[in-house]
Symmetry: C2
């Protein structure tokens, strides 16, 4: 596959990622023993979007109070549910994202418990937090972060007596990297076909819901807009019929990200509408992928990882078809603002 | 002013809206006396967007736990923080919005306390909830709802011993309709100028933050997209630099909705960037309006109402300039889906 080293992927995500299981369990158990009032998931751009699935999963599976907050807003808004008893979780590939580092410092100063997942070692973020997993590689860092977040979040639920299946779940997390790899291989030709067909499309509507809303928001903003300079509107399936639908015409590119959680019927409804109106409908559905060894009851959670890995294949093919490097920026780190 | 009856506005919003003060206080006091665990603000499209300001206000001013949830997603997600001890607040102009009515029924069945603000009397929503304010008129209903929500939400905070200024605040709510009217009059020529200049603009970027994020999201989706069929991307100021900025070029229409809460510096940063790049920058800033009689400490809250009323002037001028009725729909209530 284009720009994809299978062995490297398995080494980084499977071997090295899973190696952190014990460390995660130890510190989560320590935090739970001490007690906490709520969990704040804090990030910016791609890393707040990465938290939305876990906010959704916690809300719909646990009585633990959770809030996902954008770092720069969290810094100024004086959130009154936040206190020294809060647990604050951050991720950052570079470990230098300005707002994330500032928010982590603020949380630490106020006495809250801070946890970070970072790719690069010895960075501002790794140094400021109480507990840090440093994965050591920027390659496939989002795939690894997702996997670590499953272990982390579900361990909190397990300790809250809400997830007795934790042992089985974590054993299945270990099967996820191979499931991702097989899904990616099965999807790659379709990703290439999409990129070729849409290389000149200047606007996409992306629709998602439930635990896939974060990926929907992120792909539109951080990939299509930031990395390909293509206009993209992300819209929640539950909101689609309250406005954005009116823009759909025969040649509108509509991309549906279908997962397997409770909100799937909301996506089905958008699909039934869109297939009547546009000839440019793309459905990316995790149900089409096998996820070998993963039990039916957990597929809904793992579809976050699978979906993100599939979308990432579209990115590299768009990059080639459009001759537009994913790293090209007009403004970010090119000028001060 | 075009399509604006000043006397009718004052009668509906000022006289009739304020008449509900005692009723609101009575039922909020009753609920607080009984006790509750948290507040859910539930809506769809324009009415969930209308809740976001109050979610932000509660988060940043109160320890009361609050969640704003999209009705259709709330129906299926099995939110574990929701219980019979929750207070659920809804608004609906028609009282018939399908998902909102279904969500209110669900909340009622599960034993939660339900409150609704509705324009039309004797509708499914007015009949299902425990406490209902029926304003009786669809005209200026959003202006009225905003005003009633101030009284409602701040009464909960007052009863939670977090807002001793309630009496003064509510006296100032009474001054809000005139402040809105004066702001609208002062802004109308600018609204007309914007509509004339942008009658053929096919894409707008709208940026907001804090308690104005809801208006930003709503205006892009429910007015520009739904009612004018113009592509619009709403983006939070705290997220703007994580992707969407890359699309801004010399002729990109960027609309900034500036308010007066703690997040204003985030908007200032976007403004400094945008004014360097695009010649099509529009700043709508509540600071430019007097709000006679309203004290400095409360302007930040009331800017939600002021901002929405200003935006509404743009809508009627766009309608005329573009010869595109705000009521025209391709699909909504034109076909089944």
């Amino acid at each position: 596959m284009l720009k994809y080293d299978e062995e490297l992927f398995l080494r980084l995500v499977e071997e090295e990622g899973l190696a952190y299981r014990e460390q995660i369990e130890n510190f989560v158990d320590e935090i739970c023993k001490k007690g906490y009032s709520n969990i704040f998931l804090i990030g910016a751009g791609g890393t707040i979007a990465m938290m939305y699935p876990y906010e959704y999963i916690l809300k719909s599976n646990s009585t633990i109070e959770v809030q996902a907050e954008i770092a720069a807003e969290f810094m100024v808004m004086n959130n009154k549910r936040f206190s020294k008893d809060s647990v604050c979780i951050f991720t950052s590939v570079s470990g230098t994202t300005e707002e994330t580092v500032a928010a982590a410092k603020l949380c630490k100063e106020r006495g809250a418990t801070t946890i970070a997942l970072v790719a690069e070692p010895n960075t501002p973020l790794t140094q400021v937090v109480d507990y840090c997993i440093t994965t050591g590689s920027e390659t496939h860092s989002f795939d690894t972060f997702f996997m670590l977040l499953y272990m982390l979040v579900f361990r909190f639920m397990y300790n809250n007596n809400e997830f007795p299946q934790y042992e089985q779940f974590t054993n299945e997390v270990a099967l996820l990297p191979k499931a991702i790899l097989n899904s990616v291989k099965a999807f790659d030709a379709k990703a290439e076909e999409f990129a070729s067909k849409h290389k000149d499309t200047d606007y996409h509507m992306m629709v998602g819901s439930g635990n896939l809303w974060g990926n929907t928001y992120s792909y539109a903003m951080c990939i299509l807009e930031e990395m390909q300079w293509i206009h993209a509107k992300s819209i929640h399936a539950a909101e689609f019929f309250h406005g954005t639908l009116e823009l759909v015409v025969e040649d509108t590119s509509v991309i549906l990200l279908k997962g397997e959680d409770e909100t799937r019927p909301l996506m089905d409804r958008v699909e039934r509408f869109a297939e009547k109106i546009t000839k440019q409908l793309t459905v990316i559905d995790t149900k089409d992928f096998e996820m070998e060894g993963i039990s039916e009851e957990f597929r809904n959670h793992f579809s976050v990882s699978i979906n993100w890995a599939l979308l990432s294949r579209i990115s590299v093919h768009l990059e080639r078809e459009r001759n537009h490097p994913l790293t090209l920026r007009r403004y970010y780190r090119q000028m001060a603002y």
